[in-house]
């Protein structure tokens, strides 16, 4: 994530933000000057800036994280959809997530940012127990949705995953037709009573994913024949076809061009009216544009959770600040 990248689409950010709640406009605007500071010149300057900043940073404060570190900011909510307390995740002997506690509020978009390998995906996957499928992965702590423990022995993961949908980093449509892709979830969960019902669900989901106009003529052609961006929207349509309560998105735009990204961001905003969304992203503009709160992870620890606006203007923790100003990561 380069600082140049950080500041450039600020306009787009404010534009996207202006569509949603008015409080977000203010946030986006205020984000502009702060981020711009790091980019006085063109891209070439980036390398220099970094070199100049890094030693000064090191001299000033320590980057080491203290083991008993507790998360700073507002990680809890009164209106929580999902509550996570003292989560530890291990891959074999290796601990990937250390003692993370956080709430995700109803109809909130929660962005998770942090350097590569810090455990964002791992954490996200604990929310619908996708880590169960990984050999040697162990999750400790309490994760509840609407007060119900997700790791209770009697809980059925099939039901859980119908309530908590997931969109993966790489588009992964089934090698079946577009229609079959979207209809798959409703079919296996028995959500449609008739063919007409199913057709309607498919159309609505594709419309919500703003893919309908592009594919309505070729619903019965393979989903794998779509472009990368279309495939990703197809995966989103597939996920929302079962009307989950929570949608998890792991870098959904990492393989997309700016236009497709913009479409998906718009979509996320619309979806947040009905769904609760947790999104992992490497693009700080994206986090700024779409999310209500942002969580910053570092080396498997949750460093800071705050309203997005605040994270990008006055981060509480120096690690967060270092990351969003592009000093490392």
């Amino acid at each position: 994530m380069s600082p140049a990248d950080t500041a450039k689409p600020a306009k787009a950010a404010s534009k996207a933000a202006s569509k949603s709640a008015p409080k977000k406009v203010a946030k986006a605007k205020s984000a502009v000057p702060k981020v711009k500071k790091t980019e006085p010149k063109a891209k070439k300057a980036v390398a220099k800036t970094r070199k100049a900043v890094a030693p000064q940073f090191k001299a000033g404060q320590s980057l080491d994280i203290d083991d008993h570190q507790i998360t700073v900011g507002k990680s809890f909510s009164d209106n929580a959809k999902m509550t996570m307390r003292n989560i530890d995740v291990y891959y074999g002997d290796k601990q990937a997530i250390h003692n993370v506690s956080i709430d995700i509020a109803k109809n909130e978009v929660m962005a998770m940012i942090g350097p590569s390998g810090c455990g964002k995906s791992t954490f996200l996957r604990t929310l619908n127990r996708m880590n169960d499928t990984v050999e040697g992965c162990r999750v400790e702590g309490d994760i509840c949705m609407d007060g119900e423990n997700l790791y209770a022995p009697k809980l059925d993961v099939v039901e859980l995953r119908a309530r908590v949908g997931m969109v993966f980093q790489k588009p992964n449509p089934f090698p079946k037709s577009i229609y079959e892709n979207v209809a798959y979830g409703p079919k296996i969960h028995g959500l449609a009573d008739s063919r007409v019902d199913l057709d309607e669900i498919v159309e609505n989901s594709l419309r919500k994913a703003s893919l309908w106009e592009e594919v309505k003529e070729r619903l019965h052609q393979p989903g794998t024949g779509l472009s990368g961006g279309q495939q990703q929207r197809l995966c989103i349509a597939r996920a929302i076809a079962v009307s989950p309560e929570v949608i998890l998105m792991d870098e959904p735009c990492s393989a997309l061009d700016p236009i497709a990204t913009a479409k998906i961001e718009e979509l996320i905003e619309e979806l947040s009216e009905n769904f609760t969304i947790a999104i992992v992203t490497h693009s700080m503009q994206q986090a700024a544009r779409v999310s209500h709160r942002t969580a910053y992870f570092h080396l498997g620890k949750l460093i800071e959770v705050n309203p997005t606006e605040q994270v990008f203007t006055m981060p509480e923790h120096q690690l967060t600040e270092a990351y969003i100003t592009g000093r490392f990561g």
Partner: protein, 426 residues
């Protein structure tokens, strides 16, 4: 600047080297393929050269009279009379009428030796099919003896082989040839009959049916078992010492010499469970044991090759593991599994050693009609014929090999075709 020019010349120099290495490598490949193809070509030319003659047989045209008195039969619908009928007399009389000047017991015997000793039974079949022929006379092509067949074919090819014929017989054949009363005809016996001690009457129908029955049973047993085992091991079984142990053993089984499976089958199925010997059931069971490891291993490879992202997508949608396997993994893995199964079947089709152990090597004349009839299989038939002293069996052996190869080619082609078809769906 200087450095980059330097690098460029270095790259150029190494480039020629790399290109040469690549060209060498390609040539090695071409030579290897050429050697392989040449070996196949030699094999085919040799076998076809030796075996093509077997698809024709020598026939002699004679006037036969279905004389009631000669046959000693009054009623054609009485099976006992039919059994006792003097069928051999009809062709003998026909021959004697053709060559009236033959006298003396030895010469007469030689004369009778022109025709296959099955000629009389062919006439019986014909008379039974056309009862109105009784007490009439007709001119008909009769099957010649195998020695005559060998001689006539070699004589037509320009290098007569008369070692097993007397001078008189050679003269008679010359006469028949001049009169146009001896000729080569499509050898239908080859495809309609079972084995026989007489080469001219021996056919591969029995062996083909035996192979078919055995293979059907093998497929029915080994495909479902193999695929289920593969799916369980790949998708459901916990990964621990036990499954590792099982995996090692499956791989070991694939490498066990096939004759061991024959011994196993003999000990378990025949000696312990008292399944009869020489029947397709026991053959199918033994070949199932042999094919299972192949099918399990190829099926597991096919399942492994299904991208994990598809599994994640299915599980993420809330599919149960069983649904994930059934809806997504299996359809994608099926072409690979089928290919594995067909390759396993092709192996089983060519398998000889284990079947020798369970008695499928017996001399069986009747064409088997069910899983419990004594039977032999194509490769064993080839082995039996190759072992026979009669010269006429040489071409029979090659012909049987051609039939076996044809089946193998069909199976392997269908494997390729099936895979293409199933894969093309998306």
């Amino acid at each position: 600047m200087n450095k980059s020019a330097d690098n460029l010349s270095k790259i150029k120099r190494s480039l020629t080297r790399r290109n040469r290495a690549e060209a060498r490598f390609q040539w090695c490949g071409r030579v290897a393929i050429f050697i392989g193809l040449a070996a196949v070509a030699v094999l085919f030319v040799d076998i076809i050269g030796k075996g093509h003659g077997a698809f024709q047989a020598t026939y002699i045209k004679l006037n036969v009279s279905y004389d009631q008195d000669l046959l000693g039969i009054e009623n054609l619908s009485d099976p006992e009379q039919l059994m006792m009928g003097n069928w051999d007399a009809v062709p003998k009389v026909a021959l004697r009428e053709k060559f009236t000047d033959v006298s003396g017991r030895r010469d007469k015997r030689r004369l009778n030796g022109l025709l296959s000793n099955g000629a009389g039974f062919d006439l019986k079949d014909r008379l039974l099919a056309n009862p109105q022929l009784l007490n009439t006379t007709e001119s008909i092509w009769l099957l010649a003896d195998d020695d005559i067949d060998t001689y006539y074919k070699s004589w037509l090819d320009g290098e007569a082989y008369a070692a097993r014929l007397s001078d008189k017989q050679v003269v008679w054949i010359d006469q028949l040839h001049e009169q146009g009363l001896i000729r080569l005809q499509l050898n239908t016996n080859l495809f309609t009959r079972g084995d026989s001690r007489e080469p001219e009457q021996a056919g591969i129908r029995g062996a083909v049916m035996g192979s078919l029955l055995t293979l059907v049973l093998t497929l029915i047993l080994s495909f479902p078992i193999g695929v289920s085992a593969a799916i369980y091991l790949e998708e459901f079984a916990p990964k621990n010492k036990w499954t590792d142990f099982i995996e090692v053993n499956i791989n070991n089984l694939a490498a066990v010499p096939s004759i061991i499976f024959g011994l196993l089958g003999l000990a378990i199925f025949i000696n312990f469970f008292h399944v009869p010997r020489s029947v397709p059931i026991v053959g199918g069971l033994v070949l199932t044991l042999m094919t299972l490891p192949t099918i399990i291993i190829t099926s597991r490879a096919a399942i492994k090759s299904v991208p994990p992202s598809i599994r994640e997508a299915a599980l993420g949608m809330g599919a149960s593991k069983y649904q994930m396997v059934l809806h997504h993994v299996l359809p994608l893995a099926l072409p690979g599994m089928l290919t594995g199964a067909i390759i396993g079947m092709a192996q089983a089709l060519g398998e000889t050693a284990p079947l020798l152990m369970i008695g499928m090597v017996a001399f069986i004349v009747d064409v088997p009609g069910s899983f419990t009839d004594p039977a032999t299989v194509l490769p064993v038939q080839i082995f039996l014929w190759a072992d026979s002293p009669e010269r006429a069996f040489i071409e029979k052996t090659s012909a049987a090999i051609m039939v076996l190869l044809t089946f193998l080619i069909i199976m392997n082609t269908s494997a390729v075709w099936l895979r293409k078809r199933l894969e093309r769906r998306w």
